[in-house]
Symmetry: C2
Subunit: 273 residues, 2 copies
Amino acid sequence: MGVFELIAIGNELLIGKTLNTNIHWISGEITRLGGFVRRATVVRDELGEISVAVGEAMQRKSDWIITTGGLGPTFDDMTLEGVAIALKRKLVLDRKALEYLKISYERAKKQGLVKSYELTEARRKMIMLPDHSKALPNSVGTAPGVLTKERNCTIVCLPGVPAEMKAIMKESVLPEISKAIGPNYFCEGTLLVSKVIESILAPFIKGAMKNNPKAYIKSHPKGIIDGASRIELSITTTAPSKKAAEKIVNDALDEMQKAVLKLGGFVLKREID
Amino acid sequence: MGVFELIAIGNELLIGKTLNTNIHWISGEITRLGGFVRRATVVRDELGEISVAVGEAMQRKSDWIITTGGLGPTFDDMTLEGVAIALKRKLVLDRKALEYLKISYERAKKQGLVKSYELTEARRKMIMLPDHSKALPNSVGTAPGVLTKERNCTIVCLPGVPAEMKAIMKESVLPEISKAIGPNYFCEGTLLVSKVIESILAPFIKGAMKNNPKAYIKSHPKGIIDGASRIELSITTTAPSKKAAEKIVNDALDEMQKAVLKLGGFVLKREID
């Protein structure tokens, strides 16, 4: 119901050109809705790589697979072809996608970006969807998003341009995800501590996890500031209600705070979000 | 010889907490040395996930696998255990790693961060390496890096803290990679153009790729600025000499520049790096 895999497609992500902010943003949105992102994969603009990555995610029985990138008009935009291969489906001209494409070019024409919008080969590619898919309108750019189901998995394909990806997520995908997951709340509490080092804290984290089995406690070293090592302790949980989630996090925060003070450390900040 | 896979380990990367700058930085460094990063995978701090991801990368016959994260002293730092499972090796206390750990804690003691440094269970974990591995000194933090070979694959494990990861890469790993790849030069040229849209450019990119088979041409839409759509054309190649690489990129830049002007577009910037 709520296990996700993300697949980001684009050479630019694997040559150090573009920082992958899409996976970061999508992970955050899904987590906040109570979903669980199990894995993210980044592959190149190669048909085999894309179809294999989608096929592998299907085999791991994820409930959702969300891809970003490779939906545009150029030769190396091949996400839909890759997904079609993975799902053993044909690519068909989608009438709804055509409608959305026309709306996009009509908008571009009004903005003076194009003079006309014949359905060239390059543009036609953007509306050839795996059979039995649903096109999702793109209110920012031209390539429509795609949503399709295969067995118990929902596959969503989004553009790589962050503004377009976010628009389609917010307008069409997050509401669907929220509905599928149901009431589920993610909560994170943080404790910024100093004057204790990670290897000293380690057994106390283990102990607090044992006493608070629904909380996940993770330490993030933040370097040495004013001659003291600084660590952020992040405590997270997902629960059916906001109140329950906050209680779990607060209890674990209490225990870790006590441990830090007992070890002679300082608590610089305690927050719950 | 030069095909890489990167595996980033850490829940924080899959809940939208931490932006994965490590993959971006490592990809850039490897690409500049003429290496090819085929895939990057992000998994959670779970033993099964880590060992499976490493095993899959081994099966794809990558020459190098570089992991980041999960080398520290806490319960959920389990990269070395995951790698050991994937390689079917035992974890053994590594004497060189112990030496590096002592140096780290000696440094921490001098900095006033710790009073003493007994080899606690948590600390011991950081120096239990898969059998037949080489420990790599960590000049910034405490957990040593690890390098090991399995058949034709070199596996490198690095900490997730960016400063520590970068230090070990620069001091111990990049020189090895450079030696393994040999003389190979990556070159990128960019053309920032306006007043043409991507779907119009698409067939010309395809044509230029055909005429310049060693160049890879990719378009990145950069939004609408001053009422005109702006696109960055990125042209990349890898060649045995700097001169050869630059010629390939320059020829493709020439062809794309001509196409843009012919289409009534503007070239705002042309750069080669």
